[in-house]
């Protein structure tokens, strides 16, 4: 072999090798540096922030709303039909999900050519542990993270729910949505051929800012007492609706708020809008006799009357402005102001309103917040309706005096009573105690806020004493009485316009306890009860039920007027 031949072969081999390596290098550079490939490998993901928790007043101990991994139970109808296991699987699913097996089988057969169908959505894995263990062919689960309410239909109207888009749609969930929602994070990285993230190529990583946790002023034990009492009212009187609120007098904290009918928060999709209405703040109604307390308190404060002023309540009928006003068939004659409240005389209260004059009457009502929203942290709060004086007819002051011709929410009525109980200071009702960010920093703190002072301490104390007579023997609110305590309150049995005429009733009871040193204010409203409709019969027992347990729960001590006067 000549050396020339060797050089030629070496040259050709080296050239071929260089060309091949050059080609591979070029391709490699193209793959790695080409913009098109780069963009295919690059990913940009939004990191979803976890929504904050909602707790009751005890904070982290009692979770009312949280995020939870749940599962959608799905089937492949085609597989089940081919395997001839439709009935068997339907029975298994029905047993675990509490559904009708025939209905499930029907739905599967209807979609027999399809590969996918939902059987039940958003199911907690506890309910389907059996199904998962069995690993049935044609049955599978899809993981989901949803907003979950551990106690189902408890506190529904206060908590609210989160819709499919993750937006709070009712109650606290809606009102403090921006806090609860948090801020999403960002991830910029690259993936391999199987679209798995290449951790070493991770570029930008901004972690999500978790939503803030909201602590309410509501105590879940008080709330349970309220809801239980309302359920008993509903079972006994079958009303169209019933609602109740418990408020701490000194601070304005809402300790419990419930409305019936209600709905399951974990199944909000099936509830119609009527069930979702928080009647405690979202229904205006003519309050009736409960608001006689406002008229009398205003007149006492204005010095128009004293508790012992005698008023002629006529013989059951009184003509004024061309219209007759009655006392529900009672002929009371001449009575003191205290007795007017105790017996709930319409005529007596109407006369006191006339003594006060319409301007003063209107001003006091506005100062007590009638016709204005209370500003509680819940959406859908109504303001009530109070016509301006210029639109009042001659008889208007007499009707407004005992709670007709204007409307209020239950929260407004309760707030009026709490103002009387709180030495005349009107507190802003609130139910968000604090909001804590993901890193533990308190970013909002709710607290007592005095709105105004419509009446002075003397009028307030006189009024509290008068209201305490309502639950004494001979008063209309005897059923609200509890052992060991003096209960101050007022019954309300208001007519309600239905189909254009006053043909329905709203019974209510509102009061506070202990009358001498008020701590807790409660209102119970029963809308269109069947049969008996008097507030003292339908609402007062529920009031007693709530108050009786609340005073024990909070360890509220009874007091006497003398003790309180000496303080």
């Amino acid at each position: 072999m000549s050396s020339r031949g060797f050089y030629i072969r070496a040259f050709v081999s080296a050239t071929m090798l260089l060309v091949a390596l050059g080609g591979l290098g070029f391709r490699l550079a193209f793959l790695h540096l080409g913009g098109h490939q780069q963009s295919k490998r690059a990913i940009e993901r939004t990191i979803i922030a976890g929504r904050g928790y909602i707790f009751d007043c005890k904070g982290g101990d009692n979770i009312l709303a949280m995020n939870l991994g749940v599962k959608d139970v799905c089937v492949s109808p085609k597989t089940l039909v081919e395997n001839e296991t439709v009935d068997e699987v339907s029975a298994l699913l029905a047993r675990n999900l509490g559904k009708d097996a025939n209905k499930i089988a029907q739905n599967i057969r209807k979609r027999s050519v399809k590969e996918f169908a939902y059987v039940e959505r958003y199911v907690h894995e506890d309910r389907i542990a059996n199904i998962q263990e069995l690993k049935v062919d044609g049955v599978f689960m899809q993981d989901k993270t949803v907003r979950y309410y551990p106690q189902g239909n408890f506190m529904s109207h206060v908590l609210g729910f989160v819709n499919y888009e993750g937006v709070g749609s009712l109650g606290v969930e809606q009102r403090v949505d921006s806090y609860l929602r948090g801020s999403p994070g960002l991830l910029e990285s690259k993936v391999d051929a199987r679209r798995r993230e290449l951790y070493t190529k991770r570029g930008t990583y901004i972690p999500a800012m978790e939503g803030a946790d909201v602590t309410l002023t509501i105590d879940q034990n008080i709330q349970y007492m309220v809801e239980k009492a309302l359920d008993e009212v509903v079972a006994k009187h079958n009303p169209k609706g019933a609602w109740a609120i418990v408020q701490r007098i000194e601070t304005g904290e809402i300790l419990g708020m419930a409305s019936r009918p209600s709905f399951n928060l974990n199944d909000f999709r099936t509830a119609d809008s009527d069930l979702k209405l928080n009647r405690a703040i979202g229904v205006n109604f003519e309050p009736g006799s409960t608001m006689k307390a406002l008229t009398i308190a205003a007149a006492l404060n204005a010095g128009v009357i004293t508790p012992s002023t005698m008023i002629d309540c006529e013989n059951g009928q009184w003509f004024y402005g061309g219209r007759v006003l009655t006392d529900g068939g009672h002929s009371y004659g001449i009575m003191s102001v205290a007795d007017i409240i105790k017996k709930s005389s319409n005529i007596g209260t109407a006369k006191i309103a006339l003594m006060m004059g319409r301007k003063l009457q209107y001003d006091y009502m506005k100062q007590f917040g009638v016709g204005d929203r209370m500003g509680i942290e819940l959406p859908g709060e109504e303001a009530g309706v109070l016509a301006p004086i210029k639109r009042w007819s001659k008889i208007c002051p007499t009707r407004i005096a005992f709670g007709q011709a204007y409307s209020v929410t239950a929260l407004q009525v309760l707030n009026t009573f709490c103002t009387i109980a709180n030495n005349g200071y009107r507190m802003k009702p609130y139910l968000v105690k604090q909001i804590t960010s993901g890193d533990g920093e308190v970013i909002y703190r709710g607290g007592p806020k005095v709105v105004n002072r419509p009446i002075g301490v003397t009028a307030a104390n006189e009024m509290a004493k008068i209201l305490a007579t309502v639950t004494e023997n001979g008063g209309t609110g005897r059923r609200a009485r509890i052992d060991g305590f003096t209960v101050a309150g007022k019954t309300g049995t208001a007519q309600k316009v239905k189909d254009g005429t006053y043909s329905a009733w709203v019974g209510s009871f509102v009061g506070f306890v202990p009358a001498e040193n008020p701590q807790i204010g409660v209102i119970v409203v029963v809308d269109e009860p069947e049969g008996v409709h008097a507030g003292g019969v339908v609402a007062a027992p529920a009031f007693r039920e709530i108050v009786d347990q609340t005073v024990s729960y909070f360890d509220i001590q009874p007091a006497t007027w003398t003790e309180v006067a000496q303080r």
Partner: protein
Amino acid sequence: MARRKRNKKKVDGFVFPAPFAGFVVIVSVFALAYLWLGSRCEMLGREIKKEEGKKKILVKRYLNEEYRWSRMKSPRNLERVLNQNGMVMSWPRRDQIVRLYDNSEYRNGYAKLDRVVMNE
């Protein structure tokens, strides 16, 4: 003479220049270090991904436990369980409560029994 010349040529052909050898060694060390770092990063990345997965599962389990616990100690469930066991419970009356206060007069940490008249 001719023999000496041939030997000299052979020795010259095998000589590896020292600077080049040093360069090759440094490049090799860097290359090996790079490969080691690369594989270490890869390994750590995989480890982190694994831990992230574990964390996700633990968070899920934690949330599930929180959910179960919240349900278990809800007032409604407590009452249901009490009823199941035939127990009727109500809030205590004032005369049924014995109050204990911190007895700072005596020694911190010791409680003092407040004897309410009703308790006698």
